[in-house]
């Protein structure tokens, strides 16, 4: 694959995008997981699919439009979906998690209708669902570069606010943190990262890249910083091994990336178990 990497632009695109996503998806994932919002990523990715389907349909039906990049429409849908989830969480104050299945099923429902109108499933759509090593264009790489830079910058600048909001929202409010604005900014970032990640990982598996590396990191880390560091490390390892094996086996990278993340997760659980057993033995002997 190394030789091919220098030869083919499409491979370079996939690897660059993959590495950037391997950084930002787990980075935001840490905040998503500790705030118990893991399923929001799922809802947003399904809404992104609706956007992709809408884009494909318009391209097909409106002759003036061709060569549209479905990523943009996916992003727009994802961001709008994020706004709606926030609104719904206000409506159902006592059942905040209801917002997620409402948006998820709504997104899929509309998506299925749009897909059928656009003449059903084709290879394009398949690569959006499960990711592809060949589908990333140079333009897309630039979009992902911009989004990654933006997300990393925002997380660094608002790190203290994001931390205090995740740990103790009431305390954050009393300390004068503008919870609404920060939360909105955060959910829009999540929406953008999901739309960026879908070409490599695939819509159905994006949320896994946001949560599995974090789940593994949680088994091993003491501090919040360490959790972020390990999550990003695990995310990158999963992306690199996943892309490599997807290329070798000629399967969609979404599957191999997520399976790599699953293996890392299992190893981390095993590691924790072995360590606590050792500790236990040390204690009793």
């Amino acid at each position: 694959m190394i030789d091919a990497l220098f030869e083919y632009e499409f491979l370079q695109n996939a690897v660059i995008t993959g590495l950037l996503i391997g950084l930002v998806a787990p980075l935001l994932g840490v905040f998503i997981v500790v705030r118990r919002l893991s399923l929001i990523a799922d809802a947003l990715s399904h809404i992104t699919l609706t956007g992709i389907a809408a884009s494909l349909l318009i391209e097909k039906r409106v002759s003036a439009v061709n060569d549209w990049n479905p990523m943009y429409m996916g992003m727009a849908f994802s961001v709008i979906g994020a706004v709606f989830i926030e609104k719904l969480r206000k409506v159902y104050k006592h059942y905040e998690e209801l917002a997620i299945p409402i948006m998820l099923s709504g997104g899929i429902g509309l998506g299925v209708i749009l897909i059928s109108l656009a003449d059903g499933f084709n290879t394009d759509l398949f690569s959006y669902l499960f990711g592809s090593v060949t589908a990333v264009s140079r333009d897309n790489v630039w979009v992902v570069v911009i989004i990654t830079t933006l997300v990393v910058l925002i997380v660094m600048l608002f790190y203290k606010e994001l931390f205090v909001l995740s740990f103790d929202e009431e305390h954050a409010t009393i300390a004068g943190v503008n919870a609404k604005t920060i939360h909105f900014l955060f959910i829009v970032m999540v929406a953008l990262v999901i739309a960026s990640a879908m070409q490599v990982v695939g819509i159905l598996l994006v949320s896994a890249l946001m949560t599995l590396p974090v789940a593994a990191a949680l088994r091993m880390s003491v501090s919040f910083k360490q959790t972020i560091g390990l999550s990003v490390l695990f995310g990158e390892v999963a992306v690199v091994t996943g892309l490599f094996s997807a290329y070798q086996l000629d399967v969609p990278p979404g599957g191999t990336i997520v399976m790599s993340a699953v293996v890392i997760l299992l190893l981390s659980i095993l590691y924790r178990r072995l360590r606590s057993e050792e500790w236990w033995k040390g204690e009793t002997s």
Binding site: K160, E161, G176
Partner: protein, 257 residues
């Protein structure tokens, strides 16, 4: 006392839906006091705290913090808060004691400001104050309830407030550590001249540590120094706030005498 009170409530009332939970509350907390706000469950104590902190808006009356209307108040770094919730936070949260205490500095920092060496020193100072500096790099979830509550005191102390409000902080702390916790509060009150307002239903312990006591059941029935409180007879007490509190305080005396 000529000095303006740090917190002043004037005929404050508040209702959830149609039910009044706080009525006709007049209360002032002056600098240097350690005020215990006691009352049975559902007496509106915690609601009163929310009103003071601006988390709820009163239907009637005025609330002033440091002489300013709570609506316009913006010196939140002057007020530390230790909630009951701090006890029931997600104990699997991946953060060290150091990180938790440092988060208390947010109210003092401007937007975009990053943590620096000076902040680190402040965090260790606050941890030292509550005798928890050796636990700085422990995960917050590893600590006992009493230790965690000390950490939350440190989080409140780190921004150098003049007033700390505590809402039932001893809930979930085992009884042998409760006394040490009260001693710590007493020390902070005396040595740092820190004004404290503590809400509790534990009427016995608080009256022997606080300088002042206020008893509340929807409205404030007694407000005075702890000595005055102890001087009250049983009859006066039951007359003042009814059967339930009387029972509570009475039982307490039985178990501790």
């Amino acid at each position: 006392m000529v000095q303006e009170p740090l917190i002043e409530l004037e005929d404050v009332a508040f209702k959830y839906d149609k039910e009044w939970v706080v009525e006709h509350v007049n209360l002032a907390i002056h600098k240097g006091q350690f005020l215990g706000l006691v009352g049975p469950n559902g007496s509106g104590k915690s609601t009163l705290i929310k009103l003071m902190l601006g988390l709820e808006k009163p239907n009637k009356g005025h609330i002033r913090l440091f002489g300013k209307s709570v609506k316009k108040f913006n010196m939140w770094q002057e007020i530390g808060f230790v909630s009951q919730k701090a006890n029931s936070f997600n104990s699997g949260f991946p953060a060290t004691v150091y990180e938790v205490v440092r988060s208390g500095l947010v109210s003092r920092m401007s937007i975009f400001q990053l943590f620096n060496q000076k902040h680190k020193e402040k965090v260790y100072e606050a941890l030292k104050e509550v005798e928890m500096e050796e636990y700085a790099h422990y995960s917050i979830g590893e600590l006992s309830g009493g230790q965690q509550q000390r950490v939350f005191i440190a989080r409140a102390l780190v921004s150098d407030p003049s007033l700390i409000i505590l809402d039932e902080p001893t809930v979930g702390v085992d009884s042998e550590h409760v006394t040490a916790f009260y001693d710590l509060l007493g020390k902070l009150n005396r040595e740092r001249d820190l004004t404290l307002l503590m809400v509790t239903h534990d009427i016995g312990t608080i009256t022997s540590h606080a300088t002042h006591v206020a008893c509340m059941n929807k409205s404030v029935h007694f407000h005075g120094s702890s000595e005055d409180y102890h001087d009250m007879t049983d009859e006066e007490m039951s007359e003042m706030y009814g059967h339930s509190i009387h029972q509570l305080s009475h039982n307490h005396e039985v178990t501790h005498s």
